[in-house]
Symmetry: none
Subunit: 419 residues, 2 copies
C-alpha cells in the first residue's frame, strides 16, 4: 500500500491564526474516497530550510506527498521557488496558465499586475495542474513510483483541484481498491465502561478491522475501519460485527456516521408526525438550540419556555411555590410539574424538562454541583420518565451532557411508543 | 531563542474525522503568551513506530516538544507506553494520580474500572502533571536543556494543564521575558470595511507593534502584539494606540481580550442591578444559551420564551393572529409585540426579541433567507429599538450573527441608560 504525507505551509498556521482545515479535508478525501489513510501531517512556516527539510523527509517515508500553501503572489510565499530549487529546475512561463490568469482578471474587471503575471511561471520539469478557481497553478512532480503535488492554500481552490484532478489521477496510477469504514454512535456510557463491556467483542474482531473509541462529552463514537483489499467482503464483515454490537449495547446506539442526536430525534418526530417542546432551567435554551440547529425543525418543534428564576417557574408554569420550597427547584417533583405544564402550554406530543445545578457554584451537601433531573413525557400515553444524574463541576459540560442525555431519553421514548 | 515543536497523535486526525484544533490552540498560546512562534507541527497515528520517529526527529530540531493525544484508557491509545520505551523507563502507579482518579469517579457516583486504574501508571522517570479535569495525567520529561511534555488529547483537559502548569513552567525555566499583547473586540462591521476605516491608524503603528485582524461571524478581533524587550514601554505604546482606536471606532468596541458579548452584558446588568429575558424565534434559544453560559447569570437572567410556531406566538405571547397574518411573523410589528409581551411575562428590566428566516429554505421574494428583525427594549424608559438585517444563507451563521448583534444592541442600550 502506498504511503501518503500531507504538508501544509504557512506562518499563519504556526501562530495559530487559522486552523489547518486543509490537512483534515485532504485526509478525509484520502481515507473516504481514495481509501488510504494518510500516515503523516507536517506543518512548516514560509521558510526555505524548513520547507526543504519537510520535503526531504517526506520523500524518505512517503510515496505520495500533498503540499498546500505558499503559492500566493506576494513575497512571503516561497513554496514555488523552493520546489524549483529542490527539483533542480528553472521557472518558465506556461502560456495556458498565463491565459487562465488573464481571463480570470478580465472577468473580474481588473487589470493584471506583474505579481499576478509571475504566477504563470512554473518549474520546467513539472506537470502543471490548472487552477479554475484562482491564479496559482498546481504542480505535479513525478519520479519513479513517487509523486509530489503542490496546491494552493486557499481552501476552495485546493479542493477544486483535488477533486477534479488529483483523486482520479491517483486512483488510476496506483490502481487502488476502496476502503470500508463505519462509525457507530453511542450515548450514555463513558469510554472505559464501554470498552469494558465490549472487551470480548473487540477481541473477536478480525485482524483487518480496527476499532477506535472517540469520546466527546457523553457521546462515544466507535469507528470500525477495514484495511484489507476487498471492499465487499470487508463491508460484510463490518456490518456483521455491528449486528453483534447491537445485541450487546443496542440501547446505547443512537445512530451512525454523520448522525446527531438532534437529527435522529428530528427524523423520528417527522416520520411519526409528532411535535416537541422543551422546558429548560439549567440548560438555558441549549436543548432548543440543538433541536433548531437542524434545518426544517419548524415542522416538529413548537417552542420552549426557559423559566430560569423560581418566580417564572411559578408565574409562567404555575408551579406551586409550596413545591418549589418543599422539594426545591432541582427536584423530581418540580421537573414533573414542568413536564405537565409544558405539555399544556406548548401543545406538543412530547416534552423535555430539565432542572439542575450547572455550577460551578450553587451546590449544597445534598445537591452537589452537577445534580440534574431530566424528564421526558409523552402526552399520548400520559407517561413521564424522570431520572436523576450527577455529572461533574464544569458548567459547559453539564449543559452539554444534560442536553445529550435528554435528547437520547426522548429518542428511546419515541421509538418505544411508535414501533 | 528556543524552538518549539507540537506533535499531535491520533488516527482520528489522520482520517480527517476531527480537525487538529489542539495544535492551533497551543500555537496561539506559544505565540501570544509565551511569545515564541512554534516551528513545526507533526501529526502521526496511534502507531508505535510513527510516534517514536516523530519524537526522535523533534528531539533533533526542537528544544521544547508538546505532545497531545493518545492517553485514553483504551487499547488504541499507546502514547504512554511508547514514551515509556523511548525514555527507557517503567510504568509505576502514582498514588496522587490514583487518588485523583478515584475521587473523580466517586464524585460522579461510578466505580473505577481496571482500565481507569491503569491510567494512574506513569513512567518512573517523568514528572507527573496532574489532570484536574480528567483521568489521564500529563507527563514531563526533561534532559539537559530540552523538554517533552505529553498531554491528553481531550481539548479542555489539555488546555487546563497547559494554562495552569505548562506556561508558567516554561516562562520560568527559559527565563522568557513577557510579551505584551492586547485584543480589541469589535462587533458589527466586516473585516475589510474595518481595515479601510483604520488604514491611517494602522500605518501610524510603530514598527515593533504588529496588528492582526481575526474575524469570526460578526465579530472582528484586532490583536496588537509587541515584539520588543521592554514590557512596560510596549504596554504604554499599545495602550496609547488603543485610546486612539477608541476615538475612531469606539461605537464598535465591546470589550478586550477574553471578554464575550454575553460576559460584558452580564457584568453591565449585574453592576446596574437589572434583569434580562429573551423572546426568540429564529435563534431558537441560542441567545438564552449564550447568556446562561456565563457562570452566575441566574443573578440577572430571569428566563425566556421561544415561540417557534405561530400558534405559540399567539397563545403564549397573546400576539393577535391579525398581526401575524397581515405583517407576518418576521416583521417589525411582530417583534414589537414580542418585546411588549416579553417584558410583562418575564418581568425583566430589559428584553431581547428576534424573529427571522434562518434558512436555508423558507425565504420569499420580499423576505429572503437571512432577513432578521432584532429588537431590544427597556421597561424603564418604555423604549423599543428594532432593526432589520439581511444576513446570508447559512443557517448556523444567521443564528450566531443574530445573537451577537442582539447582545451588542442591548449592551449599547444599557450603557446609554445607565451612564
Amino acid at each position: 500500500m502506498i504511503k501518503i504525507e500531507i504538508i501544509t505551509i504557512g506562518d499563519e498556521l504556526l501562530i495559530g491564526q487559522i486552523v489547518d482545515s486543509n490537512s483534515t479535508w485532504i485526509a478525509q478525501q484520502c481515507s473516504n474516497i481514495i481509501g488510504i489513510k494518510p500516515s503523516w501531517f507536517s506543518t512548516v512556516g514560509d521558510n526555505y530550510d524548513d520547507i526543504t527539510n519537510a520535503i526531504q523527509l517526506a520523500y524518505k517515508r512517503a510515496d505520495v506527498i500533498f503540499i498546500s500553501g505558499g503559492l500566493g503572489p506576494t513575497n512571503d510565499d516561497i513554496t514555488k521557488t523552493t520546489l524549483c530549487k529542490f527539483f533542480n529546475s528553472q521557472l518558465v512561463v506556461d502560456n495556458d496558465v498565463y491565459q487562465d490568469i488573464e481571463t480570470l482578471f478580465k472577468n473580474r474587471g481588473f487589470a493584471m499586475t506583474p505579481l499576478n503575471a509571475s504566477q504563470a511561471e512554473v518549474p520546467n520539469n513539472c506537470t502543471v495542474i490548472r487552477n479554475k478557481l484562482g491564479t496559482a497553478p498546481g504542480m505535479l512532480f513525478e519520479n519513479s513510483n513517487k509523486m509530489l503535488i503542490s496546491m494552493p492554500g486557499v481552501p476552495f481552490e485546493m479542493k477544486g483541484m483535488f477533486s477534479s484532478f488529483v483523486i482520479p489521477y491517483i486512483q488510476n496510477k496506483y490502481n487502488i481498491s476502496k476502503l470500508y469504514y463505519k462509525s457507530v454512535l453511542t450515548q450514555g456510557l463513558g469510554e472505559s465502561f464501554l470498552a469494558d463491556k465490549l472487551k470480548d467483542w473487540e477481541n473477536s474482531l478480525p485482524e483487518n478491522i480496527s476499532l477506535a473509541y472517540l469520546p466527546s462529552q457523553s457521546i462515544v463514537k466507535l469507528r470500525l475501519t477495514s484495511s484489507g483489499n476487498n471492499f465487499d467482503v470487508e463491508k460484510k464483515q463490518i456490518d456483521n460485527k455491528i449486528q453483534e454490537l447491537n445485541a450487546i449495547i443496542g440501547d446505547l446506539i443512537y445512530g451512525f456516521d454523520e448522525d446527531t442526536l438532534q437529527s435522529v430525534v428530528g427524523t423520528l418526530l417527522l416520520n411519526n408526525k409528532k411535535t416537541i417542546g422543551t422546558i429548560e432551567s439549567c440548560t438555558g435554551g441549549y436543548i432548543a438550540h440543538l433541536i433548531t440547529s437542524v434545518s426544517g425543525s419548524s415542522e416538529y418543534f413548537n417552542g420552549s419556555i426557559i423559566p430560569y428564576s423560581n418566580q417564572l417557574k411559578n408565574s409562567l408554569l404555575g408551579i406551586d411555590n409550596n413545591i418549589l420550597e418543599t422539594y426545591g427547584a432541582v427536584s423530581m417533583e418540580t421537573v414533573e410539574k414542568m413536564l405537565l405544564s409544558g405539555e399544556k402550554l406548548l401543545k406538543t406530543d412530547y416534552i423535555i424538562a430539565v432542572s439542575g445545578i450547572a455550577g460551578p457554584s450553587g451546590g449544597t451537601p445534598t445537591k452537589p454541583v452537577g445534580t440534574i433531573f431530566i424528564g421526558v413525557r409523552s402526552s399520548k400515553n400520559n407517561k413521564s420518565i424522570i431520572k436523576k444524574y450527577i455529572f461533574g463541576n464544569n458548567r459547559e459540560h453539564n449543559i452539554i451532557k444534560t442536553s445529550q442525555t435528554a435528547l437520547n431519553m426522548l429518542r428511546k421514548l419515541i421509538i418505544e411508543e411508535n414501533s
